[in-house]
């Protein structure tokens, strides 16, 4: 299990992007994920994975947040608990992966931005997909939220959103101007 140096995930930025009329390929895919504040005795930040899955369940990885700070990479031991993500390619990755992995986040709304042209998203064939967001929390629960979508994304149909009940709050998909990045 060879490791590469952890690099800061540069794709997560605070956004307040203006929507401009331009082709989707020149835009950034923006995924906002709300992590609810939970009133529990023992709270750990959730592990979260985000990926886009086609109808044959083949995955394009977008993000995974896990405990990167534990000694001896012990955080990786719990990656399997994101069990659908693990099955949809997580287990074949040598984490950390530049541009995909980053540290866990606490309660609040967190926004991921991925350049469509500069990532595997540019290679996607047009068609039906599901954005899947999975969260698993140590001594907590696990939840999978998914948003069906058609690729390429149409500005007029955005934002798309869905919400979880326990471990995830609202998940929202939008397009942002790449130039704001």
């Amino acid at each position: 299990m060879e490791k590469t140096l952890l690099k800061r995930f540069a794709g997560i930025v605070a956004t307040g992007a203006l929507f401009l009329t331009m082709s989707a390929e020149a835009r950034n895919l923006q995924v906002s994920i709300e992590i609810p504040r939970l009133n529990v005795a023992e709270y750990h930040k959730p592990y979260v994975a985000v990926w886009l899955e086609d109808e044959s369940r083949s995955a394009t990885q977008i993000a995974v947040w896990y405990d990167v700070g534990m000694r001896n990479n012990e955080g990786e031991k719990w990656l399997k608990d994101l069990r659908q993500w693990w099955r949809r390619g997580g287990r074949a990755l040598d984490v950390p992966v530049d541009g995909i992995t980053s540290a866990t986040y606490g309660p609040g709304e967190h926004t991921l931005e991925v350049s469509i042209a500069g990532s595997d998203l540019a290679k996607l064939a047009p068609g039906k997909y599901r954005l899947r967001v999975e969260a698993a929390r140590e001594v907590g629960g696990r939840e999978l939220v998914e948003i069906p979508l058609t690729w390429p994304l149409e500005e007029s149909e955005l934002p798309l959103s869905a919400a979880g009940n326990e471990e995830l709050g609202r998940v929202r998909i939008a397009l942002a101007s790449a130039s704001d990045n």
Binding site: E74, K77, K80, R91
Partner: protein
Amino acid sequence: MKKNFTSVLVAGLMAAGVAMQAEAHRAWILPSSTVLSGDDPYVTFDAAVSNTIFFPDHVAMGVDAVTVAAPNGKTLSLENASRGKYRSTFDLQLTEEGTYKVGLASSGLRAFWKDAEGKRKMWPRRGQQANDAEFETAVPKDAKDLRVTQSSRRVETFVTAGAPTSDVLKPEGVGLELVPVTHPNDLYAGEAASFKLLIDGEPAKGAEVVLIPGGTRYRDSQNEISAQADAEGKFSVTWPSAGQYFMEAEYEDGKARAPATVRRGSYSATFEVLPL
């Protein structure tokens, strides 16, 4: 693994005390986890022969004969093996990514007959494993009602670190074996899984299969799922819920090598089915 098959199995079952209890009890090896991530993760196992599935209530399984086939084809040793009253435990560190097969297997002749006084006799004796070479001397030439069976038995489970591999799933061609079509560490509730049963390397047509979800102690019925292997030895199951499952398959035919007339194989395994 194949090279040592006979000797390993003979030793194994004697130690296990499993051979004769097989009829009435269930022998199982239960991993603490089957899908693992991270660097060199550990799995701990319970092994027992019991009435209630995955609940040690009868006798510990002897684990001296348990072998571990690693993804790279090497045979690993168990760590921290310990035998208790009702169960044995051992650990295994998955230092390499891929799928590991953990289990024991045995095969040999068994004979039943009546002596001159009409008393029932059997060889090998209860709890013992036959050395096939001793058949000629152990069983009288004039034995009445002689029945000789060629019996084989396997108890297995599978664990995977990282992405699943299939090198350890290749059949050895001895006794009743399971060849997964669906990977045994990629099983999900609500999904169908397919398997193939082989007897001495050939399709085990008509083999009877029973699958029972763990936790029988906390419900009134066994919730058995039955299946039968088709002409290619295949069967499939749709997992009704997540959990640990005990699978048992039985096969019998008349195609035994002399002096046996009946060929009999049993196979059991533990599978973990995850929630989708």
